[in-house]
């Protein structure tokens, strides 16, 4: 195959929607007789063609539902295409979710071995990289503690470390930086940069356009399952941002909901307004079919380019008790630091007991903020700064 590491020809993937999948025999039998009514085709990917050279780091960007994850799932052989063909040269490792296969009852050490072998590492390979993995994760002291006692940050760090030390020629990475603290995100980016510099091929899906532009020289923009444009990251990202401006007209929450979430507690409405004092009011309506004490809400604020600006976590003294029915929750945020820009936000609801979210709204068009302070500054923040003094020292 010469210089080409990944060759994709006419790749398409169709899902049947409209009717839910036949999960019981009766449904399937009755469908035999009532042939294909209500069945709608949904092409998650349609006629994707591209080539990725060895040693290239390529970013894949696009709005929710554009087909980014489906593409990675096909390339990592989790699901198969309906049409078309992809050829990959070299060992492939994919990291679609951090910590898959981790078992809460097992210790960090045991999970490294389990997760490593799930990702296709040989035992000898894991042993030889063990110290490196542990020191990268920075959890040396807790390596023999069951991971259910870990904080979610520690959990993610250990899981990423295992995957980051896979010795493969092609690495497929889905939005894994959405978790973990800023310092660790930087560490992960550094590691991926290292991977890219070692001549490995990297395919990286992210909403964080800054990360994409620093890591990947080329990018592919997907829109509704098709390649919209393909080229240098700089141009593609500019193209995408132009496009995403129209996202502010689509406020349907369901569009931004991460699939496969629990149906117990769901965000029904998200409403963000600037009040008279210029403060931001965030009104959330949560519909619940259960009573849930000790719920935590997380809000992550992002710039238009996907840079994480601010994270809010309900702390121990601001846990919320969710009641059956509709729950309206209001936050007030001051806007002093915001500049005239578009902002996106993630909303999550969790419990104190579980790392994964009960409901997760991703990259919701949060606010098109217009600062009342007329400012020509187009940076990410608006800080109060004024001229204090001028001294002439002769």
């Amino acid at each position: 195959m010469g210089d080409v590491a990944i060759n994709i020809e006419g790749l398409s993937k169709r899902y049947l929607i409209g009717e839910k999948q036949n999960n019981s025999l009766r449904e399937s039998l009755s469908n035999l007789f009532a042939k294909s009514k209500n069945k709608a085709d949904f092409w998650a990917l349609e006629d994707i063609n591209c080539q990725i050279n060895k040693g290239e780091a390529v970013g894949i960007i696009g709005a929710n539902g554009a087909g980014k994850s489906t593409l990675l799932k096909i390339l990592s052989r989790i699901t198969y295409p309906t049409k078309g063909k992809a050829t990959l040269e070299g060992r492939v490792a994919s990291l679609l979710e951090v910590g898959t296969g981790f078992h809460p009852e097992l210790t960090g050490r045991e999970n490294i071995f389990l997760n490593g072998s799930l990702l296709g590492m040989k035992r000898s390979e894991i042993i030889s990289k063990f110290d490196e993995i542990v020191s990268f994760s920075g959890i040396d002291k807790f390596i023999d503690t069951p991971v259910k006692r870990y904080s979610s940050g520690m959990y993610v760090r250990l899981a990423f470390s295992v995957a980051a030390h896979l010795n493969t020629e092609i690495l497929l990475v889905d939005e894994v930086l959405a978790v973990g603290d800023y310092k660790f995100q930087q560490q992960c980016l550094g590691k991926m940069n290292e991977v890219a510099n070692e001549g490995k091929t990297l395919l990286f899906v992210s909403h964080n356009l800054e990360a994409i532009s620093s890591l990947c020289s080329k990018s592919i923009l997907l829109e509704n399952g098709r390649i919209k444009s393909n080229g240098s990251s700089h141009n593609i990202i500019a193209d995408y941002i132009d496009n995403s401006r129209s996202a502010f007209t689509n406020n349907s929450i369901d569009f931004y909901r991460q699939s496969h979430r629990s149906q117990e507690v769901v965000f029904k409405e998200i409403n963000v307004v600037q009040n008279v004092n210029d403060n931001i009011l965030i009104n959330l309506v949560l519909d619940s079919i259960i009573n849930l004490d000790g719920a935590l809400i997380e809000i992550h604020l992002y710039s238009e380019r996907g840079v994480l600006l601010f994270q809010y976590y309900s702390s121990d003294n601001s846990v919320i008790n969710i009641r059956k029915g509709s729950n309206k929750i209001t936050f007030e945020m001051d806007s002093n630091a915001l500049s005239s820009n578009r902002y996106f936000a993630d909303f999550k609801i969790k419990t104190t007991k579980n790392v994964s979210a009960l409901d997760y709204i991703e990259r919701y068009p949060f606010l098109n903020f217009v600062s009342k302070i007329n400012s020509t500054n187009d940076g990410l923040m608006q800080l109060n700064i004024k001229l204090e003094d001028v001294d002439y020292i002769s």
């Binding site: 989790i78 198969y80 078309g84 050829t87 009852e105 097992l106 296709g120 590492m121």
Partner: protein, 272 residues
């Protein structure tokens, strides 16, 4: 030369890729080890439960079958007779249940990581061997106590253990693939296990079945395997010739389940 992976829509394999499966043998052991460790995690006496559980089960069931419901055992001590039958049956039914639920239980992994899916039900065969081992050790101790030593046919015991593994996997793999799409099948397993206990010579001897029905009786693969266990442990007369029916059925079922699994394997992430 680097490994080339080609991905197309035509993934229908006729049989599982055994070479690839072998390259993932490490995962097989890791998953089995995980199941064992998780089972006894956060218990005070830990792995001791692996001994207490089977011993306790044996005591209860032997009492029920051996003392309360007297059966003809060809002069063998009741306890030995029942334990020998139960050891094979318990291993089989546990494997059938756990392997049958294994794919649905591992759906998170299946949706996020590629590996030969067959590893999941296969790993259940390994973790169950501990209980079987403990039971057989108990049995040997009891045999010494009753001064009933096995004859040369004991060398066939490993063969019948292997057949019990194959038989449990055959059902388990089939159920795991079917229940990925139709959860209905996970409700069938407990019924099969309950029914199986009565149509398998666990608590009684297959000799009590009239000769003319034996050909049907041994269509149940576990009938021959349980009889085989008992024969290799204390057999005096030659084994029942009908036993071969059970063995053939078990092997055919195993191959059929592998073929079905290979057919559906690539779709699992989408249909589960």
């Amino acid at each position: 030369m680097n490994k080339i992976t080609t991905i197309t829509s035509r993934q229908n394999k006729l049989f599982p890729d055994l070479k690839e499966l072998y390259s993932y043998r490490q995962l097989l052991f890791s998953l089995a080890l995980r199941d064992i460790k998780v089972k006894y995690a956060q218990t005070y006496i830990g792995i001791l439960w692996a001994f207490i559980n089977p011993v306790f089960n044996l005591l209860v069931l032997s009492f029920v079958f051996g003392v309360v419901a007297k059966v003809n055992t060809n002069g063998l001590p009741q306890l030995l007779f029942t334990i020998a039958g139960l050891s094979a049956w318990t291993y089989f039914s546990t494997l059938l249940t756990e392997a049958g639920n294994s794919i649905v239980g591992a759906q998170n992994m299946i949706k996020k990581i590629y590996f030969p899916r067959l590893v999941i039900p296969l790993s259940k065969a390994l973790s169950g061997l501990i209980d079987l081992g403990v039971t057989l050790i108990c049995l040997i101790i009891l045999m010494m106590y009753y001064k009933t030593l096995p004859g040369v046919q004991i060398i066939y015991l490993p063969l019948f253990v292997l057949l019990a593994i194959i038989c449990g996997l055959a059902g388990g793999i089939l159920i795991s693939a079917l229940s990925a799409r139709y959860r209905d099948f996970s409700y069938v397993v407990p019924m099969l296990v309950r029914l199986g206990l009565y149509i398998t010579p666990v608590a009684y001897s297959a000799n009590s079945i009239p000769e003319k029905y034996k050909i049907f009786y041994y269509l149940n693969p576990m009938a021959g395997i349980v009889e085989g266990f008992r024969w290799s442990l204390f057999g005096s007369e030659s084994p029942d010739q009908y036993m071969i029916i059970s063995i053939v059925v078990a092997l055919m079922l195993f191959v059929a389940s592998l073929i079905y699994f290979a057919k559906i394997e690539h779709k699992l992430a989408d249909i589960i």
